[in-house]
């Protein structure tokens, strides 16, 4: 009887130990972090730019872009003019 009790207790102890070791191991796994350089990491799926719906442009955005186009062309010309004046090519 006593022998049986001892056996049961040893088995129980072993089980407890196993559970404890396992949980310790799990904790160890959770508490270690893998750090991979982005260059060597597996490429991730990015936003699909090729199949995205066309850019939604309101009328105001369209007109703003046209104005911007004119503005940039004029400003580019003026800057070149200013540079030529400063360089002494135009008096």
């Amino acid at each position: 009887m006593e022998e049986n009790n001892m056996k049961t207790s040893t088995i129980q102890n072993k089980m407890i130990n196993n559970i404890f070791l396992k949980s310790n191991r799990n904790n160890r796994i959770q508490s270690s972090y893998e750090v991979i350089h982005p260059i060597f990491d597996i490429p991730e799926e990015k936003v699909d730019t090729n199949n995205a719906a066309p850019l939604h442009m309101t009328k105001s955005v369209k007109w703003s872009l046209i104005s911007l186009r004119v503005y940039l062309i004029v400003m580019l010309g003026l800057s070149v003019y200013r540079s030529l004046v400063l360089a002494g090519f135009i008096k």
């Binding site: 730019t49 940039l72 400003m75």
Partner: protein, 418 residues
């Protein structure tokens, strides 16, 4: 593998760190050295407040390209082509290539000027710099290139030591940084030109193209976004601090009533007052700035052109696998270096013109960026701008347009300011 979450974060940050620092420090190129020291030499530290205002502008603009780069994995030029069509794509690319090439010419001119002051023949200095720049990039090793460039960026911090050695008045510098003021003499044509040049040099269109391409080339992941933001913020703070130090060094010329022509002449003029080591320090840092600028700007050109042309365009591949990409980079370097060796180029005029041209083009570049970052069809809800982002960005765009218009008025009516 690391056991601690804190160290895993630090390590990940160090791995992600790079593009933000490089783009912002390369922005303090030879043109910037010239503009900031000139601002200091002519107006003392009065314009320090402009730099402080440029800190959030730099960060918010660059943060947007980080988001766009991480979300799409593509460069800025490719995105403009895809989303706005060929005209805008071609215009942006032409504008970028023009301003970039002119800027690279000025970088080599600065190398020539600085090393001439140190007694080195430009016909030796310029080709040596060009060859070194080609070797660093054309190795097919992204990480090697990035590490070398980060070291060059950190050398920029030596400007802080130079500025400290001039013993500036801390109270005056702080006051001028916090309180916007117009220097003695009022709103003159020259002052407006310098302010626009400062804006143009601190936030340049090539930076948007460079960082997005660099982020895409480095294959940054969605989870890296916050680390990349921190990298950009550190870079933005450093660029403003270093720019302020350049202004403080120029301030010595202002205090001693010395005539300013260019940074190399300034270095020579300051030598009798602050020692010959100070002169050598300025000249070497000027070279460092020019080398960093040349490398980053040429790369932004090559990346942008490669993206649009559909070439293989990565620093991760060897020369034989991306010959057009590397060839474009090498071609730009060699041509710009060759132009500088033709005698008689008006350096200071070219430098200021380039900064102004970049300042003029910046509002349009940011408008595209702003439209792309509001493109829900492309980015979805996660990566598009938040409302507060848009408020800040439109404020920046309006300010840049106002500055741009002031410049236009100044060009058309030269006597509008005294």
């Amino acid at each position: 593998m690391v056991k601690n979450k804190f160290w895993s974060r630090i390590l990940t940050f160090l791995m992600v760190f790079g593009p933000g620092l490089i783009v912002t420090q390369a922005d303090n190129d030879a043109g910037a050295v010239s503009t900031y020291t000139q601002a200091g030499a002519q107006y003392g530290t009065s314009l320090m407040w402009v730099l402080l205002l440029l800190l959030p502008v730099t960060y918010f603009c660059q943060e947007m390209v980080v988001r766009l780069g991480i979300a799409t994995g593509k460069g800025h030029a490719a995105m403009i082509y895809q989303r706005f069509g060929k005209w805008w794509g071609a215009f942006s690319l032409f504008d970028l290539q023009l301003v970039n090439f002119l800027t690279i010419v000025t970088e080599f001119a600065a190398i020539s000027l600085a090393l001439s002051q140190m007694g080195i023949n430009p016909y030796i200095a310029v080709p040596t710099a060009a060859i070194s720049l080609i070797i660093v990039v054309v190795t097919g090793q992204y990480l090697r290139w990035e590490r070398i460039t980060i070291i060059l960026c950190l050398l920029d911090a030596l400007w802080i030591a130079l500025a400290a050695y001039t013993h500036p008045s801390a109270g005056e510098v702080t006051r001028n940084a916090i309180l916007p003021n117009i220097p003695k003499g009022g709103l003159t044509s020259n002052l407006v030109f310098i302010i626009i040049a400062m804006v143009g040099t601190t936030v340049a269109p090539w930076q948007l193209f460079f960082q997005q391409s660099c982020v895409a080339d480095k294959k940054l992941r969605f989870k890296d976004l916050n680390y990349a933001r921190a990298d950009t913020l550190i870079g933005a703070i450093m660029v403003v601090v270093v720019a302020g130090c350049m202004m403080i060094v120029g301030n010595v010329m202002y205090q001693k009533n010395l005539n300013y022509e260019d940074p190399a002449q300034m270095a020579a003029a300051l030598a009798p007052h602050l020692g010959s080591w100070f002169k050598t320090g300025i000249l070497l840092l000027m070279c460092n700035a020019a080398v960093l600028g040349t490398m980053a700007i040429s790369l932004s050109s090559a990346w942008a052109y490669g993206e649009v042309k559909g070439w293989q365009h990565s620093l991760r591949v060897k020369f034989k696998d991306a010959p057009q990409f590397y060839g474009f980079y090498i071609g730009a370097i060699i041509l710009a270096a060759a132009i500088v060796l033709i005698p008689g180029a008006p350096l200071q005029l070219i430098i200021l013109s380039v900064q102004v041209l970049a300042g003029l083009m910046l509002p349009s570049a940011i408008i595209f960026l702003q439209l792309l970052l509001n493109d829900k069809a492309l980015l979805g809800k996660e990566f598009v701008n938040k409302k507060w982002n848009n408020v800040i960005n439109w404020t920046v765009i309006v300010i840049l347009f106002v500055l741009s218009l002031i410049l236009a008025m100044q060009i058309m009516l030269p006597n509008i300011f005294k």
